[in-house]
Subunit: 400 residues, 3 copies
């Protein structure tokens, strides 16, 4: 059953034109629509193959290297899962244990860790204006290293969240929508509300809302972005969302209240973030290190106080009633700030979250398969053919 | 030769009735005797298969996740060994690198780390009244996640030491006894002295002595427990040992001196621990964090001073002479406090330890196979059949 | 093409007499010339097999354990690569997470981590007079454990850099020379200048220069060692280099200026290190811990001030002009202190380094194959036969 489904997905790949071999996956908007479709189609095929107990190991004697410059649970385990699924040996580049501080250049380190490496997964989301830049620098370094004959293969750099995009998250979210509404074509005309929500914490990255508006606008959805005044996202990426909507036949609108965004929405994604102006100041202070600690504390106070003005930006039962038939799909990248569960006041009411808890867990599962799909597409000249080989070989994933 | 031995063990499994599939292994007393026997029988079979150079890899594309909430050498490497033996990719859940602190619930995290996970090994032995509870909470979370369709399989939670039991240790110790005395039936009527011993350290967990008295009392042994006044174990578990002894035809006695316990013993297991009353106070202070630091220092001083009164609780040559023919088997879970070797005064005299050093090392080896046996029994509907498949397949473990 | 080259290397092994099974690799001078040749020949064979997409996995269900007592990027990833190449599961022995501090003896820990272990890779380069000693102690412990029946196999201890030698580095460097000059025989009569160079840092280990002079002197090279007065290496190892040169028909000379060393050199290896007298004082202070912090700061100041006198010991374009045809091969183990790139004044001019940057990256690649070769030679009775088996089996390393 699962195997048949997998084969159907593999067939669908025949219609898609992709050119991802020896490349990277840094931002969804770097890729034409067919490449986006290839990622989510292969991800779904791999999910079915896993459930059909068919081994998807296509690598041996090869490394997957992760570099987390921020804490992570979900993404860390997803990347480990993707590596294990494909047979890659995972090695975490714990920068505290390396000599990176000793004056190594990014270019040099990138090569030194890549002699047997097929994929470098990087999370660098703390510093506005730097995360994406760093990932690009690594990608250029391994590209040069490969072309100069230093590296026997060209490792793909995969963005596990930067200051601009969080593509493995937004693509998992997209698969969740596809599965919920019964196909990517069913998303056309559906309204999704990507909104800010209150959190007692501050400094949450903007990559998720940016990733969501930039990706969902490509499938004819009506994307509504709402946040309190001053909580702006990076303008360039908001523009991309607008352009995408125009091209896909959807709409993109910035609205000014949670109510307006939720009104008749099919999907709501209420999530806290720190505005671009705060992130800019925060980045400058983080770079000062200890010298910036006092100012950082002040900034934090100021921001938490500012957040406090918008405590009513909460996804309550009342708000949910405003959505289409009162039954919009609630989404979250997790962990959520849940009022009365893990905080006094947060992004979402406990009863709303609890109703959608299991769906949000399932939403999270797709991420590892999205990563694996990106690896297959960047590391093989003909990924569909590799998948056909997996089905044909039909090796059981586990005994018994 | 080893292969034949392995096959004999596998045959013995035919007589045992077990129902462990999709379950956990948290405490030995949660399991009927046949399941205990299945664990140590499979563990021994796996040891023989390893030595016969037969690959026991039964998983691919699957994770084993460890979560050590306390330092560990032996258990860490045992769990890594068990994972490697069966073909699982190990991932340590280093809580300092995850977002657990950011308000994630146990239920959520347990699911997020388990999409490709077959086993979760947890050590949580510092907080009296909490370790076992935490492991159960994780087990319930993944059980619910599996039933709700979030997880494609139901990972087993394996207790790698909690506040109540240390089943992988006690089962390794049991295998050591079986091998020393020539069969589990030979243990009937043998006397084992589980005794407190002096250590300059304080705060050692009670899970080992509790695990030993609760397990060895199930095989008709005469179990003697001895400790200075005030060094009590958890009463409920002492009661379990008594009940087990009555049911198995053995005896269980609390005695009041090292001498009385050692008298005519076939086996001695002298080991330090902190009493339940201290562990209760310690847990309360640990939970206070920095605010409890001063009181913690005082508690430590008080306890070390109290320990000092019992410096004569040492496994000396003189004490050993009291045992059966002066030749009791000395056991320890390691590392031991060895007088004049790694401390001024400790649990055991250097000459006694040195005589049994190699046997205690061998005792430690069984642990990885015990863990692997628990994984096979919880993760396959028919573990004996999987073992037969391994023997039949007969793939060499290593070349050359 | 690569496969044919690999087979040629494997044939060459037929002429070499080695006796490395169940041994270690701690210092190149512990091994007769044939064993050194076997290492670099097998390393080159493995490189070709990797490029020919032939799987070299010869282990399953076995661990490689690393213990880095100092920071490391290159060596850490090389060891991970070697493990992955051969099918070993890597486990890093992070001493901060183990109970080593709790009074465990080296002998005990070495056994406890080795039940399923084929190789223990150790870096211990900080303490003069201790690193090599520690590695030997571990080797003796696992040797005893194997002979006493505790360990089912005898793990090899491989030196990943100690206070005396850095054999995986020097052998990678040797392969770089062999490839550059077209064969080991072509090294005869070539002049290599191993020289001190200025660095703003202090306390760099001596193992690289010691390893280089002791190894390159075995192949008939003319080895010139140069450093400012007072920057002596361990005298015993300098003597070994002299003896090696006499035996191999090469020469070994200590010269007193960078100019003299570079004059007509075919190869230059300018690299900073701290002199043996400083390392002795530093080791004593490191052992004092916090109590030695003030003195350590003073020592550092004194040494940096002393280094400052020799700022002219830099590998500049002018210096390079002194070498054979102005075209000597520049070598470095990386990371280098590059003037105007990662420091104000350093070991090498930016333009010189940039010209040799790609070659130094390639030089670094060999290290993982050197480690893998050492593992094969120490862990199999007949390593050439294992290689023949790999070629015959001809399993693709990756799909597609």
């Amino acid at each position: 059953m699962s195997k048949e489904k997998a084969m159907k997905y593999i067939e669908e790949l025949g219609c898609l034109k992709t050119d991802m071999y020896n490349g990277d996956f840094l931002q969804t908007w770097d890729h034409p629509i067919d490449e986006i479709k290839a990622v989510f189609t292969i991800a779904q095929a791999l999910e079915e193959l896993y459930r059909a107990n068919i081994s998807c190991e296509v690598f041996t004697s090869s490394l997957a290297v992760s570099n987390f410059r921020d804490k992570s649970t979900r993404t860390r385990f997803s990347f480990a899962g993707a590596s294990s699924l494909l047979g890659l040996d995972l090695l975490d580049m714990d920068e505290s244990k390396t000599q990176v501080a000793h004056g190594e250049t990014v270019r040099e380190t990138a090569n030194m860790i890549s002699f047997l490496t097929e994929v470098l997964g990087i999370r660098d989301d703390l510093f506005l204006g730097y995360g994406h830049k760093y990932e690009k620098e690594v990608a250029e370094a391994v590209d040069a290293g490969y072309k100069e004959g230093v590296l026997p293969q060209r490792p793909a750099v995969i963005n596990l969240q930067c200051d601009r995009d969080h593509p493995t998250q937004s693509l998992s979210d997209l698969i969740h929508l596809i599965k919920t509404f019964g196909g990517v074509e069913q998303l056309r005309g559906k309204k999704i509300a990507m909104t800010w929500a209150y959190s007692p914490a501050y400094g949450k990255p903007m990559s998720v809302p940016q990733g969501i508006i930039a990706l969902m606008s490509r499938f004819g959805m009506d994307v509504a972005l709402a946040h309190p005044e001053g909580y702006d996202l990076i303008p360039e990426i908001v523009d991309i969302a607008g352009k995408n909507a125009r091209e896909s036949g959807g709409t993109f609108a910035k609205v000014h209240s949670l109510e307006e965004a939720f009104k008749d929405a099919d999907v709501v994604y209420p999530k806290s973030w720190a505005p671009v102006t705060v992130m800019e100041r925060r980045t400058a202070l983080l770079k000062k290190g200890k010298a910036g600690a006092d100012e950082m504390e002040e900034l934090e106070k100021e921001c938490v106080a500012n957040n406090d003005k918008y405590r009513n930006w909460e996804c309550t039962e009342e708000m949910m009633k405003l959505t289409k038939d009162g039954k919009a799909l609630y989404m979250h990248c997790l962990p959520a700030d849940i009022t009365d569960l893990n905080c006094e006041a947060g992004e979402v009411a406990d009863s709303v979250f609890e109703r959608y808890r299991i769906p949000t867990y399932k939403e999270a599962e797709h991420k590892l398969y999205v990563m694996a799909a990106m690896i297959l597409l960047t590391r093989f000249e003909d990924a569909p053919d590799v998948l056909k080989g997996i089905v044909k070989r039909n090796t059981p994933r586990r005994s018994g």
